[in-house]
Amino acid sequence: MDPPAEAPTAPAPDPVGLPHDAHAGIVSRLAALVLDVVVVTLVAAVITGVALAGAEVMLGRVPAWVQVPTAVAIGLLPVAYFTAAWWLVGQTIGGVAMGITVRDTAARPLRFLRALIRAAVGLALAPIWLLGMILILIDRRRRSLLDIVTGTIVLYQRSLPNINRDQDEGAGAE
């Protein structure tokens, strides 16, 4: 189920006949997620510390016009982080470390809206995101519930060169 703005007109073909083990498994994905949580937590702590401590030092107190933007920034930080990472490079920092990347079902890089929806839905329903990862263990393409809902797959980075080569050959044949 893809978001309406980017819903494909026809079911996407399995891109280049990807083997089962080209898709990232649950251990790699959970490890990447843990790393991302650590990164986001650290960045949030830095932002909070700089903003609040700076206000405390310079103003002697923390006014509301500092607290509110800081809280908003902290709240939006995870969505912004995951969206930007998936949209721009297809990988979060945890994904880079674990060598996995997020693509759409045709193994193409995510567009902005799909990346935003994936991040927003996943973070808004974080427990379901985690529970839905059990599906990775039984799905043929190792997709979690979030992947199925947002029309994405998660691949090992090492399998990308084959995909790109096959896509190039397919485009040349056309």
Partner: protein, 240 residues
Amino acid sequence: MEVRIDPAPDPIDALVPLDAVDPEQERISAESVLPTTRLDALLRLPLGLTILVAERVRADLGPDLRAAGTGAAFLVGLGDAAATAAGRAARALMRAGQRPARMAAGLAERGLKSSPPVLARPARQLQTVAANRFEVTILRGREISALARAEAVAFLNAESASGIAWVRQQVLPTMIDDLAADPKIRELALGQAQGAFADAARELRQRSAVADGWVEAGVRRLLGRHEPAPTPARSQPADG
């Protein structure tokens, strides 16, 4: 004069290698035998260094050459004896100048009157004295060699310690600064760190990928499911 030869091994051959000597013990032993004058020490230092070099060469060449220790000790003792006896002999020559003449006269007179066995006795005495002199010279050479060697080891230890300290204080900081400021070295170190990080990341990815397969296979066995379906054809529609 009878000299007793100590059955102990050749002092030169029995000396331990330089790297096996306890520096503190070597320093104490060298201090305890230090000569009274600097000139003696300066003269003995080249000898000790030569002995150390000879030991090293002999150790490298093999055990067959160790027998040369006696000859070397004799030469050392002979040289020292000649040097020290030269002054003494010069003085004694003046006093003893008259004795040979008297002895020669007495011997000639006695030889003319006595039988052949009586003539052979001074010859045997002369032979014994010569042998004793030879042994004394060897012992003296060995003592001097051991002393010179101990002094040379102490000298080398002291010089190497001060040299290392000088290198540590003067050379190493400058070298480290130069190396740290060298763009090539920095690039090399950065590449090394990046390579190590990349290796660790690659290892982590491989292990996690293997763990992915294990977990999945375990769940599949629990659920009684088969291996995943074969790779779908390119034209097949996606499943969801």
